[in-house]
Amino acid sequence: MSFVTVLKKIFLIDLLEGLFVTFRHQHPDNLVTEQYPQERPVISDRFRGQPRLKKDANGKTLCTACGACALACPEKLIKVSSLRDPETKKKVLTEFDYDLGRCMFCGLCQEACSSNALELSPAYELALYSREGLELDRQQMEDGTPRKVYER
């Protein structure tokens, strides 16, 4: 071992270097904690969060009740009910049941949707106190859940 290495070992230089690294990190600019829920994180647009059924500008649902999402879902948790409209001969959506409890937010349903109606919106605060509220019906899918404002 060279002389410098021996000196470094005696004077605990490696330990002191480690101490300085941790000391430097104390600077307030380095702190990365977000005080949730006052500071909420910035979520990207592609985030796969709460599922929503979109409506067009007139308030009519965009969903054509094709059932592609129900077929694509690996967990088979979407149930689409529809009626055949006698005039236009097209399917009209009556009920849309989505079991959020079994959903793994994979996004295959929003990929399969041909009319761009079903999307997994960036809302992520979905926690509830019991399982009953997890089976979403059509109304909840269209309205979404309001965002809570927390004071502390």
Partner: protein, 423 residues
Amino acid sequence: MIKSFLGYLHSGVTPGEAGNLIWISIYVLLVFAGVSLGVMFMNWFERKIMAHMQVRMGPMRVGPHGLLQPIADALKLIIKEDLMPSNADKLVFWFAPVCVVMTAFCAFIVVPFGRTHAITDMNIGVVFMLGVSSLGVLGVIMAGWASNSHYSLMGSLRSGAQMVSYEVAMSMAVVSAVMMTSMATGTGTLSMIGIVQAQMQQHIWFVFSFFPVGLIALAVFAIAMVAETNRAPFDLPEAESELVAGFMTEYSGFRWSLFFLAEYTSMMAVSSIATTLWLGGWLRPFPNLLGGRNWDLAFSLVPGLTFAILALLCFLTFTRMPRIRAMRGDTAGLGGLACLLGILAVVLLLPGVRERVQDIFWFTSKVAFFMYFYVWGRTTFPRYRFDQLMTIGWKVLLPISIAVVILTALIGVRQDLFALVRR
């Protein structure tokens, strides 16, 4: 009786030396309260400093910036269920934490916060402190035995072995410091107050005397005291990720908090030894180099100004609190704290008070410096394995400390000879 009560105030000695029972009791209560407050503060301080070094914020919710967190922790521990294993040795199980806490607090009988600010001054002060700390090892072993679990027993025996091994190196370092006390007067002293007075007479803090021997002695003592108190990087016996969770495994609730209290108290006790022996105890920096009335005045203003700055920081944070209804309590508390610190700052700036109290301030700040190093070391270093730990204690620190003793003796004798010849 009132005369003896007031008469003590004019004596220049500690109440133990004066034999004044009432003042002894008052000082005991004050030291007990102060040390307990220090432990609570250390809890908050450690969590905050560790957090900041780990780029996060630590407790922020309970009180402003988590200042009430220790109170919340204490409450939780008190109301937690106190378990006792069914096959445990009941008497020993009950007594072990009591023993550890008693010995840790007993060490504070001789700790001098100032010339008259100690409970008493024994002429064997240092040895008393080291001896009482050693009794704490007994409590640790009792705890492991009484838990009726071979993992706890293994952990406590390891912990006991570690504490005993490092005490030897600690004592050698202490011997070298004690030898330095005899340089001016020709007779050394073991009393804590006497050691600080020797530093005062020799116009030097022992850490700088016989440079670099004093520094090496302090370094040896510092490493040994970290191992003595089972703190990182020597905390294998109480580490969470190791298999043997240590002697504290079976303890919960209040009994565990007693161990926790004892650990922090013994940390402060050994830091007090280090401060008294090497860092000049209650002496302010540069009492002779920067002497004279003006410098004395300037230094005596430092405690008051420190609290004034703290009060200012509190006040600034108070003005920046969000003005929402839910945070009324926090804001009010912070404002109250700012006022309290401000009043304390003003009191400490009064001429009558500041001369008497500045000793305590300097002593406490030096001990706080060691506490910061404890936390800093815990955050930075990985843990030593037990056999490596014992190797360091016996094969590295002990030879170095013996060498330090011999060097101190040689240099001391040489200086004495020179002084003799010159006379």
